[in-house]
């Protein structure tokens, strides 16, 4: 059980736990806070996957910006504790549970199948990161530089399109909120 494995198990159990709490708690403010914790633990998992830059970006973008918006909006609504958190309909609920369970089972099954397949095909892939470190795995800074080089050569078009998307979103949001007055405006 190398240091990384322990870390992985801690962080993954944290993220799953907080993920579940996000869905289960009735008051949305708490669920958003659990989501923040889940995000941070996912950032941690990225760290264990030797992708520090992605982890940093995750913290800045997700934890630092998106969820701040969530919390702010929730505060706007000033919602009291919700009585019934879940949509009604016993049978559809059951169907949903079964569907989601099946989905998870299949993905996990597919993962095992494919991974063993991948393992079979390419042996030199290390089973875990610690081992990888010894094999002179590219240190973090290099990988970040590699990412950005790749981003600006191979994925340049996607990069520009994203710029456009990021132009459209604020315009859309402003248009949507163009309704006069504050949140309690009489219409």
């Amino acid at each position: 059980m190398s240091e990384l494995d322990i870390l992985f198990y801690i962080l993954s159990s944290m993220s799953v736990l907080f993920g579940a709490l996000v869905v289960l708690t009735s008051s949305p403010i708490y669920s958003s806070l659990y989501l923040v914790m889940s995000m941070l633990s996912v950032a941690g998992i990225f760290m264990t996957l030797n992708a520090p830059f992605i982890a940093g970006i995750q913290i800045i973008v997700y934890a630092g910006a998106v969820l701040v918006l969530f919390v702010m909006v929730l505060m706007l609504f000033d919602l009291k504790r919700e009585t019934k958190a879940f949509t009604k309909g016993r049978f559809s609920g059951f169907l949903k549970l079964v569907g989601a369970g099946l989905l998870c089972g299949f993905i996990a099954g597919a993962a095992y199948e494919s991974v063993s397949l991948i393992m079979a095909t390419s042996e030199e892939i290390p089973t875990n990161i610690a081992a990888a470190a010894e094999t002179g795995f590219s240190p973090t800074t290099n990988s970040i530089k590699e990412i950005s080089k790749l981003l600006f050569t191979k994925y340049l078009f996607a990069f520009e399109v994203l710029g456009l998307l990021l132009l459209v979103v604020p315009i859309g949001a402003v248009a949507l909120s163009r309704v006069a007055g504050g949140t309690h405006a009489k219409h």
Partner: protein, 644 residues
């Protein structure tokens, strides 16, 4: 002028006449329409005379002028050029068509003077002449068929000219339908020939015709000939499909003269002569032609005995004369058939025009029982009619005698013919003599039974002139083709010009024995005597002892009824063939269409509607339901992938 230009003028002149009159069909001016129509056909006549002279100047061997205008149809194996050929056979035909056509156009100016649609009438006539020329000059079967159809259409239009009268319109329809049945046979024959020889041009067909005779019954060749003969029956009114001709008398009389006497009805004979080599190679088919021809002439002649309408009598006589032509063709005497066709055109056209002027004079009265003694009132018509009568009953030295006796001799003499064919021919000749004399007696000689308010007068010169010309032709026409046996005894031995002219073009009968002169003389003698007996008998019946006809008819009541009602052929057709088909189609419509097809359509539309409503319930607007469906979809896909 080169023959192709002449040919194009010959063809386009009547077409132009048709267009000119057609476009101003409302105008009531008979003079303009009539003059233009006649002029056009006149021009064609002049062209055909010039062509005839050019043809005559050519040496014997390659006597044919071919003019190809453009490539009309060029499908894989089938090349049909729009080409016309004038050779000995078609030269004779175009001379007859345009010659008699001009005379009849001239006649009908007078006849149609007080009709309200003269230009429409003349445009139809010109249209008919154009199509007939097309049929005759056609270089291949398809072009001929084109003319064949056009002529059928023209005859329908002209028969039903006074379509306001329901009965006349029905007659037009009847003619058209029976022709169509015949045309179907023609087409099948055309296809079979094309299948057999790979070409439909007469030149190649005649060249490729097998020299040895094909004795089997179901070979392509025989079947083709039989099918073509069915087409000929339809067009030339033979046994099974003759019913339309008597009813066709509903049209104006010059129409009957032109179409139902001289030109259209002879198309069948011309077609068989055109394909003489093919037909010679199928003796069984020729045998059928001969039998049908003989039967038709006997049956038509017998019906002619009992008719009271002047045009009906002439119609049945035309049918029987056509029977003679087909008898001649059936026994292989193509030459005799063509000569009889020409002479018949002369005297039959004459008689129809004569009856036309009689009806004109009698103010549309056609029943000969109300006529009589018109000799005094209409001398020119009477004398021209007498010339025609003499020709048709076969008095020696007249045109009728020359051609009919040749046919009778050949039906006996030809290896294809036999004694009973000759006997039927002679019997027919006797009956013809009887009913023609009866007609003459009842209309012209005897005491006048004309009702008091009607006082007949001679027709104007525009009508009598063609009568005179035709009269001359029917008297001296015979000298064109004097039979050999006569030629020898006549001074100066005039050769048979007609036979000499047509021979290279027509096939000659294989194994024709040398003519036995004495037998021929015996034949001539027998036929002349039967004709004389018939004439005298009729004269006695209707002029001297007027009571005799009633006595005779009362004795043979059953037979007389049968013959008088035209053997109930029309009724048979309607009862057994036409009505059952109508009933069957009604039944079919009721059973299949209503409750089978409709059912299916209604059923499918209901199914679609049902499916639509069930799907609509899915769009409930509940977003989470959509998400659930998506999820289940994904699960299924993954399941498929993992399991697959």
């Amino acid at each position: 002028m080169s023959h192709s230009v002449l040919l194009s003028i010959l063809l386009l002149a009547p077409f132009f006449g048709f267009l000119f009159n057609g476009l101003r069909f409302k105008s009531k001016n008979v003079q303009v329409a009539g003059v233009v129509g006649t002029a056009m056909v006149g021009i064609s006549f002049i062209c055909s005379v010039l062509l005839f002279s050019q043809l005559a100047s050519l040496p014997e061997a390659e006597r044919s002028l071919r003019a190809e205008y453009w490539n009309w149809l060029n499908v894989a194996g089938l090349q049909i050029p729009l080409a016309f050929v004038v050779d000995q056979l078609s030269a004779v035909m175009i001379l007859v068509i345009t010659g008699i056509g001009t005379l009849i156009h001239l006649f009908s100016i007078g006849y149609m003077s007080h009709d309200e649609r003269p230009s429409k009438y003349f445009s139809y006539l010109n249209f008919f002449v154009f199509n007939m020329l097309l049929l005759v000059l056609g270089d291949n079967l398809v072009l001929m068929f084109f003319g064949w159809e056009g002529v059928g259409l023209a005859s329908y239009l002209l028969i039903g000219f006074w379509f306001t009268d329901k009965e006349k319109a029905a007659a037009g329809m009847k003619a058209f339908v029976t022709n169509r049945i015949g045309d179907a046979g023609f087409l099948i024959g055309l296809f079979l020939l094309f299948g057999e020889f790979g070409s439909i041009v007469f030149e190649t067909l005649n060249a490729q015709a097998p020299t040895v005779q094909d004795m089997s019954w179901n070979s392509n060749l025989t079947l083709a000939c039989i099918a073509l003969f069915i087409g000929a029956c339809g067009k030339s009114a033979q046994i099974p499909l003759y019913v339309w001709l008597p009813d066709a008398m509903a049209g104006p009389t010059p129409v009957s003269a032109l179409i139902h006497a001289a030109t259209m009805v002879t198309a069948g004979v011309y077609m068989i002569c055109r394909l003489s080599n093919i037909f010679i190679a199928a003796p069984n088919a020729l045998f059928i032609v001969a039998i049908i021809g003989a039967l038709t002439l006997l049956m038509a002649a017998s019906i002619g005995l009992t008719q009271w309408d002047i045009k009906k009598v002439l119609a049945y006589s035309t049918v029987s004369q056509l029977g003679y032509m087909f008898l001649a063709v059936g026994v292989g005497a193509f030459n005799a058939a063509m000569f009889h066709l020409v002479t018949h055109a002369f005297f039959k056209a004459l008689m129809f025009l004569g009856s036309g002027s009689v009806i004109h004079a009698m103010h549309e009265e056609q029943d000969i029982r109300k006529m009589g003694g018109l000799k005094k009132h209409m001398p020119v018509t009477h004398w021209t009619f007498v010339a025609g009568w003499l020709a048709i009953i076969g008095t020696p030295l007249f045109s009728g005698f020359m051609s009919k006796d040749e046919i009778l001799w050949m039906s006996w003499h030809s290896p294809l013919g036999s004694w009973y064919l000759w006997l039927m021919g002679v019997a027919g000749a006797g009956m013809t003599a009887f009913y023609m004399t009866r007609l003459m007696a009842l209309t012209f000689w005897g005491e006048s039974r004309v009702p008091s308010d009607v006082h007949p007068h001679e027709s104007p010169t525009s009508m009598t002139l063609p009568l005179i010309v035709l009269g001359v032709l029917s008297v001296f026409g015979g000298f064109l083709g004097i039979p050999h046996v006569l030629g020898k005894i006549l001074p100066g031995h005039p050769p048979n010009f007609f036979e000499h002219w047509l021979d290279p073009r027509l096939a000659n009968i294989p194994g024709l024995a040398q003519a036995n002169i004495t037998m021929e003389w015996i034949g001539i003698a027998i036929s002349v005597t039967t004709a004389a007996v018939g004439a005298i008998l009729a004269y006695r019946f209707y002029i001297i002892r007027k009571d005799l006809p009633e006595k005779v008819t009362s004795k043979i009541k059953g037979l007389y009824e049968l013959v008088y009602n035209k053997y109930w052929v029309d009724e048979f057709y309607f009862g057994r063939i036409i009505n059952p088909i109508v009933e069957m189609s009604k039944g079919l419509w009721m059973y299949i269409d209503v409750n089978f097809i409709d059912k299916i359509t209604y059923w499918t539309s209901d199914m679609v509607k049902g499916a639509g409503s069930s799907v609509r319930s899915m769009q409930s607007g509940n977003i989470q339901q959509y998400a659930l469906l998506i999820l289940l979809g994904v699960v299924v896909v993954i399941f498929a992938v993992v399991m697959g």
